[in-house]
Each structure stands twice: as structure tokens, then as C-alpha cells.
């Protein structure tokens, strides 16, 4: 364990720092209540559907009931005759505007409204604009669509079969359902290590399709002003700036005439990264009717058409020595991308950061290959707090290590401890090209084992097994890969993955910080104020964080992949430091000394050796904007702007242990305890950090036990409402127990690594490993998620089956 960061040495004698004397006005890092909460607890948040514009109309989308069908005809006559309907837009109408197809975030195109075929159940076919939302819904029933059913491709394993229906016949030259092949690592070297290994274990591991399902669904309000040609777009978006640029590129509206406003967002988890057809339809609806148009999807639309997550079929292999040294990992992945390749990830990474599947272990070799295919399912794939597919990677390796432990009859915790990358090996270059910035893994796992009482639990388990009771203990250790990213390696549709921040200190010493990233509940208004506070000594409450409006904030790529603190946090810290440097020059002028003779302590500069000769940041701010004679080259403000290009990603890590009890008669799994020890480097607000972890742990229990978007053979979505897409309630999750170590990122300005997705990434294998451990007496070595009662029972009967 290492300390948080180096701090300025405290002078021996000093005047009390006025900024630090009031405990009710906290400054900088630490547990403080959130600045956004007073409005939320009063019901005064302003979410998309709360926005009402004068004269606003309402849109509704007609969707395909079929998974694959040729569009024969669409008759909108009756809908148009509805007295409250203002417009009905079809794919044909959009073709005229060159908007029927839009580019995806993965160099593919996606139908905005179907013109030739529908390719998944729930695909957008027509858009109605009406005076109120009830009438818009009524009018959907008045549209008559004739479909000619086509054979479907639902099982990704069959997508490349000769004779499989070609889903994307719109793409010139596309004769099958293949999207891409991608690989990482050295195949020959890996194969050689496997060839000489004592032990090789193999397991097909399925990470089934799940959905981020934020409590607020997706939506947009488009307000196009035909006079000045300005489009104001209210959106549920995690990336307002990227959206603005994309709309400019797609819709041909000049970028300076587009303003994207993201108000309060009711959860995102990656669901609100992409641009959905409904948003484009709302824009067209506003242009066509000359009025603002609101479109908000219902829950079924959200689950059936917007960005799903995972859907990876992974053949995992691990090579090891008989005494438990892991030598190499190897995998081939079949990736189901749905009907359009619309995953959101850096251009050079079609499988995201999946190649981090080497995990937290020091290996001799590794190789992975990924094949992406089209199926008749909704597009998406990178979402649900996945850190660009680190979820899949961590799940695979952590499941496989347990398979190996079972084969070697070793304790899974001991096996992990024996194979960790050692602290002195950092920065550690893995076999697929990643450079892990920092880590100290063993203390985290030991802390977790101690906190949960690992040895006692193993004893309890042995006693219970003797009585026929089923108890399982699951261990997982993960290394996350977040904070994308360095612009030389990472862009999304050509936009470098950097973020800007602007800090202004007003004349009275209060500050405003403008950021490009977009909170969906992470508490940016607090965290980013704390970063500025830490750097400038200004109380948190005296700092306003401005975000969610492209007219008010600097450019940047937004919040996903746990990148807000690693990227935007870096930008904010550096901007604040620029302000501090400027303040130093001005303070020197005010104190009639040289800058190098000044010492900084949180909130003020004082003259070395004479702490009473000091200027607080407020005094300096007034000086900067006032009449102080400014030094050469310093202008009259305390403002600074930075666009941060991170030198590397950050690599948070953690150790999780889960205890489950399984009812042998029904197969029902109860999560009894869960201890999570996380290391995200510097912890800005421990309360918020902890909250982020808790949420991710519940995600993990959800995916491991119940969340699943399934399809029947006709391609009907079986997870299309909250009656069937099950999310844990307070009854299915335990009271989380947490611990932490602090290993700062060496390259990040404040040593912070990001925490938003760690628990979602790290917890599913802990739960599944616990379930498999509980079922070990039945000879079970693997069980795919979701571990529903029926699937657990089938595994106990010796018939574990993949969910897809």
C-alpha cells in the first residue's frame, strides 16, 4: 500500500490559513455530501422528460414486430388523417433528405427508419409527430405496414454457416454475416507454451446479452429554429460534444448552429453513448413541423432496440504447470454484434479492450482472436459499465483461473496469489501490448480474505458439505483498463479521446469549472469541485461545476469507460494548477516579492520564512481582476483552460469474495455476503467512490443471477420488459462490505484511476465462481450466467447448458 500522494510540507510556524478553519466549509478531497443532492431530494432534478418547450409536439416510433422481413409497403394515410397528428415520417421520406441511414460509431451504417428490410424485432419503421403523447401512440396503430418474412439468424454460432440468410445485403459486396476478425498477442509463441504445458484446461464461457437499462429511458427534444438555422437538442446523452459533431457530420447542420443540452440524466451505464434513430427522427420532426418535438422511448423500446451489452461466446484455454504456475491464456471469441455494427469503442479496437484478458497475472504468452458477426438482433455491444469489454475479458480469465484451480485441486485464492504480477514489475507490459501503470495486488486480496474470514468460511463450507448443504465461496481479482485515452492510439469516429476543462476564479474568489464530461449520477458537480478545491484551496461549495451544455463547455468525448476522473479529472487538475501558477505570479506582485520566494499552502501563497506575509486565493483573484500592477505576460484574470491527453490508460484493480448459499431442492441462489476491496488510486470523495462500487456490485449480482436478453427461434426478444428483464431488488443483494488500498496512478496529475465500472467488471466472476464452488460436489466445473434456479438445478443434474 502506498500513500495517497505527496503533499506540500507544512511550515513550522504559520498563521492559521483562513480557508481551512471552518469545518462546515470543506475543501478538497474527503467525504462531503454531494452538491447535486439538494435538488434531487426535492424532486427538482431536470431530466429530459421534465423539459417542456412552448408549442412542443410529441413523437412516437413504430417498430417492427419481426426480426427479419422485407418491407413491402407502408400506408400512413389513416395516421395522417388523425386530427392531432402533424406528421408521419417513413424511411422513404428520410431517403429524400439523405438521412435514412446514419453512420455508426464502428464504421458501419445503421438504418434510421427502415427502407428495404427490417433486421431485428423492434427496429424503427416510422415516426409519428402529434400534439400529445397519447395521440402519437394512438396514431401508431393507424399505420399499415406489410412485411414479407425472411429467414432469421439468431444463433451467432450459425451466423457464418453457408446458406445463412445474409442480413446486411444493403452493404455492397457483403455476401455473408461476417463483420471482422481481430487478434492480439503472439499466436505462435502462445501455441508453443501450450504445447509444453503440464496442464491445459479448456472451457467455453458465454457472457450472455444483457442490457444497461438505466431507470430513465433514452429520449430527445429537438428544437429547430428555421430563422437562424439553429438546432437546440435536449438529449439523454453521456457524450454531448461528440453528439454535436456527429450531427453536424450527418445532418449537415453547421456545428456552430447545434447546441446539445444534457440536463440531469437518470442513469446511463453506456446506454446513452450512441445516437439512436429516435433522436434523428425528432430532429427531422422538428424541421418538418417547425415546432419542438419530444421523443422518449418506453421501457420495451429501451430494452429491445437500444444498446445491449456483451453477447460474447468465448472459448477459453489456460496452460499451467502442475504446481500452479499459470503460463499462458488463449481464446477465440465469437462476438454477436446484432444487425448493425454500432458498438462504441476506439477505432483501432473492434473488440474493445478485450485483449486485457491476461488479467492480473504474470504470463509467458497470450493470444486472442475475435470474430464479429451480424445477427437479427438489436445493435450495440459496448455498454453497461463494461470499460470497452474489460467485463468480458475479466469474466473469462477469472472463470478460467477457477476452472484451473479445480483441475489442480488448489485453493482459488492461493492460485491467484501465486500468479500475480509483482509490485516491482510495474509498470508492467503484458503479452498483448498493454502497459499497466501501477499495482500492488497481493495486499488487496489478503485484505479481502481477512475481512471476509476466508479460512473460517472454508471450514464452514466443509462442514456444510458433509451435511449435504450447498455453500459456495467465489474469488475474483480484476485489473481494470480505463481512462481512454491517449490520442495517438485512441479515437472514436476520428475524434481523439481527450477532454477539456476550464477553470475561472471570479474576482471574489468563487470559482466556476466547465467540463466536457457528462454525469449520469456519478456526482461530477461535487467531485470536480473537490479537485479544484484541492488544487486552489477554495471550499467545495464555492465552486460551481458547469456541464451538459455544448454552448457552455469545452470540447471533449464524454463519460463512459470510467474515463471522467482519469481524463477530465486530469484536465481539471491541470487547469487549476495553471490558475495557481498565475496566482503565484500575481501574489508575488502583490507582496512585492519574487514568485520563487513564495510557498503554497492550500488556499494561499506566503513568503518563505514569513508566513504572515500572505495572500489568499480570494485576495489574489480580486487583485487579478482589480488594479494590481500585473507582471509581464500575465493578463488580468485567474482563468485557465486545458485539454488533457492522457499519456496512458489507468489500471484500477480489486479483490472480491462472494459467499452464496444454494437451496439444493430448488436451485435458488442466495448471496449471503460480498466483500469488495478496491484500489482506484487517489480517492477524491470516498463516499462517492463507495457508492460507485456498491452500484457495480449489484450489477454483478444481477448479471450473474438473473439479467438476460434472450430470443426465441423466430427472433422475438424475450427480455423486452421489466417483467422479464430482471434487475435485482434490495432483497437479492447483501449489505456490501468494502475495503480499499491506495496505489496512485504514477502518470495521472492527482494519481486517480477511476472507479465507475470496477465493480461491474469484477463482481460477476465472484458470484459465478461462488455458485460453481457450491455445486462442486455435483462435479460442476462451469455454469454460464444467468444462474437462475432452473439453470442451477440443471447443472446439479449434470446438464449445465449455455443460455444461448
Amino acid at each position: 500500500m502506498t500513500t495517497v500522494q505527496e503533499r506540500s510540507p507544512m511550515p513550522q510556524e504559520r498563521e492559521p490559513n483562513p480557508a481551512l478553519t471552518d469545518p462546515s466549509r470543506p475543501i478538497g478531497f474527503g467525504r462531503v455530501q454531494r452538491k447535486e443532492d439538494p435538488r434531487f431530494v426535492r424532486g427538482k432534478g431536470r431530466y429530459l422528460d421534465d423539459v417542456v418547450l412552448p408549442g412542443m409536439l410529441h413523437g412516437a416510433v413504430l417498430r417492427s414486430p419481426m426480426a427479419h422481413a422485407r418491407l413491402v409497403s407502408i400506408d400512413t394515410t389513416e395516421a395522417l388523417a388523425h386530427p392531432k397528428v402533424h406528421a408521419v415520417i417513413t424511411g422513404k421520406d428520410l431517403e429524400g433528405l439523405n438521412l435514412a441511414w446514419a453512420p455508426t460509431l464502428s464504421a458501419d451504417v445503421q438504418a434510421v427508419l427502415a427502407t428495404d428490410k427490417v433486421r431485428f424485432q423492434g427496429q424503427e419503421v416510422a415516426f409519428v409527430v402529434a400534439e400529445d403523447r397519447y395521440s402519437a401512440r394512438d396514431a401508431l396503430e393507424l399505420i399499415d405496414v406489410e412485411y414479407e418474412e425472411l429467414p432469421v439468424v439468431i444463433d451467432a454460432r450459425r451466423a457464418l454457416d453457408p446458406g445463412a440468410a445474409v442480413i446486411r445485403d444493403d452493404k455492397e459486396g457483403q455476401t455473408d454475416n461476417h463483420i471482422f476478425d481481430w487478434e492480439a498477442g503472439d499466436k505462435a509463441e502462445t501455441d508453443a507454451v501450450f504445447a509444453r504445458a503440464d496442464v491445459v484446461v479448456r472451457q467455453e464461457v458465454v457472457y450472455p446479452r444483457v442490457h444497461p437499462a438505466p431507470m430513465e429511458t433514452c429520449g430527445a427534444i429537438a428544437d429547430y429554429d428555421p430563422i437562424d438555422g439553429k438546432l437546440t437538442l435536449y438529449e439523454t446523452t453521456q457524450a454531448p460534444h461528440a453528439h454535436r459533431t456527429l450531427y453536424a457530420m450527418v445532418a449537415g447542420i453547421p456545428e456552430h448552429k447545434i447546441r446539445v443540452i444534457a440536463g440531469d440524466i437518470g442513469g446511463g451505464f453506456g446506454n446513452k453513448v450512441g445516437i439512436y434513430p429516435g433522436y434523428v427522427c425528432a430532429i427531422v420532426g422538428s424541421i418538418v413541423t417547425g415546432k419542438p418535438v419530444k421523443w422518449v422511448e418506453d421501457r420495451s423500446e429501451n430494452l429491445m432496440s437500444t444498446s445491449f451489452a456483451r453477447d460474447y461466446i468465448m472459448k477459453g484455454e489456460v496452460a499451467a504447470t502442475r504446481d500452479g504456475k499459470i503460463l499462458a491464456v488463449r481464446t477465440h471469441v465469437l462476438a454477436d454484434h446484432g444487425a448493425f455494427n454500432a458498438t462504441a469503442q476506439p477505432t483501432k479496437y473492434p473488440a474493445g479492450f478485450f485483449s486485457i484478458f491476461t488479467g492480473s497475472y504474470d504470463l509467458e504468452a497470450a493470444h486472442c482472436s475475435v470474430t464479429g458477426v451480424y445477427t437479427n438482433k438489436a445493435p450495440g455491444g459496448v455498454a453497461y459499465a463494461c470499460s470497452f469489454r474489460v467485463t468480458e475479458a475479466v469474466y473469462l480469465v477469472e472463470r478460467m483461473v477457477d476452472v484451473l484451480a479445480q483441475e489442480l485441486e488448489m485453493d482459488p485464492a492461493e492460485l491467484r496469489l501465486a500468479n500475480f504480477i509483482r509490485p516491482e514489475q510495474f509498470p508492467y507490459k503484458n503479452k498483448t501490448g498493454w502497459e499497466y501503470d501501477s499495482g500492488d495486488y497481493e495486499p488487496a486480496l489478503r485484505m479481502c480474505m481477512e475481512q471476509i474470514g476466508y479460512a473460517d468460511l472454508r471450514r464452514e463450507q466443509a462442514e456444510k458439505r458433509a451435511r449435504g448443504e450447498l455453500m459456495g465461496i467465489g474469488v475474483s481479482f480484476f485489473t481494470e483498463t480505463v481512462g481512454a485515452g491517449p490520442r495517438k492510439h485512441m479515437d472514436i469516429v476520428g475524434l481523439g479521446m481527450n477532454d477539456g476543462a476550464e477553470v475561472r476564479v471570479h474576482p471574489t474568489g468563487k470559482a466556476v469549472v466547465r467540463i466536457s464530461v457528462q454525469t449520469q449520477g456519478q456526482g461530477h458537480e461535487t467531485t470536480f469541485a473537490q479537485i479544484v478545491g484541492e488544487e486552489l484551496g477554495i471550499p467545495t461549495e464555492d465552486i460551481e461545476v458547469v456541464h451538459g451544455d455544448t454552448d457552455q463547455t469545452p470540447f471533449g468525448l464524454g463519460t463512459y469507460g470510467s474515463r471522467s476522473t482519469p481524463v477530465s479529472g486530469g484536465a481539471v487538475a491541470l487547469a487549476a494548477r495553471k490558475v495557481r501558477e498565475k496566482a503565484k505570479a500575481i501574489a508575488a506582485a502583490m507582496l512585492e516579492t519574487r514568485p520563487e520566494d513564495l510557498e503554497w499552502e492550500k488556499g494561499r501563497f506566503y513568503v518563505k520564512g514569513d508566513p504572515s506575509a500572505a495572500k489568499t486565493i480570494s485576495e489574489i483573484a480580486l487583485g487579478a481582476h482589480g488594479t494590481v500592477e500585473l507582471p509581464e505576460g500575465v493578463d488580468g484574470n485567474l482563468d485557465a483552460e486545458v485539454t488533457y491527453d492522457p499519456p496512458n490508460l489507468t489500471f484500477p484493480f480489486g479483490a472480491y469474495i462472494c459467499v452464496v448459499d444454494v437451496d439444493p431442492g430448488t436451485g435458488k441462489v442466495k448471496v449471503r455476503r460480498f466483500v469488495a476491496v478496491d484500489d482506484c488510486g487517489t480517492r477524491i470523495n470516498p463516499m462517492i467512490v463507495e457508492g460507485q462500487i456498491h452500484g457495480g456490485l449489484a450489477d454483478g449480482v444481477g448479471m450473474a443471477l438473473m439479467e438476460f436478453i434472450g430470443f426465441d427461434e423466430q427472433g422475438n426478444c424475450l427480455g423486452g420488459s421489466f417483467m422479464d428483464y430482471l434487475i435485482p431488488t434490495a432483497m437479492e443483494v447483501p449489505d456490501w462490505e468494502t475495503g480499499y488500498t491506495v496505489t496512485p496512478s504514477p502518470h495521472h496529475p492527482i494519481g486517480a484511476k477511476g472507479i465507475g465500472e470496477s465493480a461491474t467488471v469484477g463482481s460477476p466472476p465472484a458470484v459465478v465462481n461462488a455458485v460453481v464452488d457450491a455445486l462442486a460436489p455435483f462435479g460442476v466445473t462451469h455454469l454460464d450466467m444467468p444462474c437462475t434456479p432452473a439453470r442451477v438445478w440443471a447443472a446439479m443434474q449434470g446438464r449445465p447448458t449455455p443460455p444461448i
Binding site: K44, H694, F722, T729, D735
Partner: protein
Amino acid sequence: MQVTMTVNGTEVTRDVEPRLLLVHFLRETLGLTGTHWGCDTSNCGTCVVLVDGEPVKSCTALAAMTDGHEVRTVEGLAQGAAGGGTLDPVQQGFMEEHGLQCGFCTPGMMLTARALLDREPDPDEATIREAISGQICRCTGYATIVRSIQWAAAHPAAAPTEQEVVA
């Protein structure tokens, strides 16, 4: 048709379509947007309000059916709500114990908590979890919501915290 009900202590009368859902009556007819909705199937509980003091899913009730009844929404939790007012201990508990992140499920959770504490001032953890089990939170993992409600139970007449005063 005309409906009359008491919302947060004030009687309101409006002309509505019989099919208007209570959640839309509150949000759109009355502009009380603190009540949210998250599904269509009465599974998520984001839309919970109190009708005659009991938690009800307002997406699965008609405004017409609520005629003559008393409704309390999140906007009616604080005393003297017009100016922000004195927070209910439940509201304060949610801030103290980080019982919310995105804030979307929060109004429903707080109203259920209020009804629970009115019925049972000192509930244990299992009782709290059961009481909120018809409501989904996607952010918090529930532990901090449980702690928030426990905080409110322990501070039945909570005064505003210092931070709350300056916020």
C-alpha cells in the same frame, strides 16, 4: 371528465381524459415533475407516490381513480416546500448516507420510506429492504438507501445540516 384531488395539501380540479394515468396527471397536468416513470409494467417503482398515505405506483393508476383522494409527491415531502423548506428526515437521510446517485428512483424510494416510518418508526434492515423491494435502483446497490432510511429513523425530527443550510 373533471377530477378533484388534494395534492400535497392543496385541492386541485382539472379536466382530464379518463385514460390519463396518474403519473401524467402529476407530471404534465400539474407540472410536478419530481415523480418519474421508468417502466410500463409496474415493476420499477420509479413512479411511486403516496395516495391516502400509502405508496402506490402512479403509472398503474388513473387520475380518474384518484378523484377525491389525497396524493403526496416528493414536492410535498419538505415542510413549506415553496421555498425549499425544512427537509423531511428521509430527504436529509438520503443526502447524509449517499442514498442517491442519478436521483431518478429517489422520489419514489423516499416516499415509500416516509410511509414505512409513519407506520413503523424504527424498522430493522430486513423490514426496510422488504418495503422497498417493489422499486428498482440501478445506481446504489441499495445498501446506502437502507442506511438513509435508518438515518431518518434515528433522526425523526432532523434539523437541516450545516451543509444543507448553505447549499
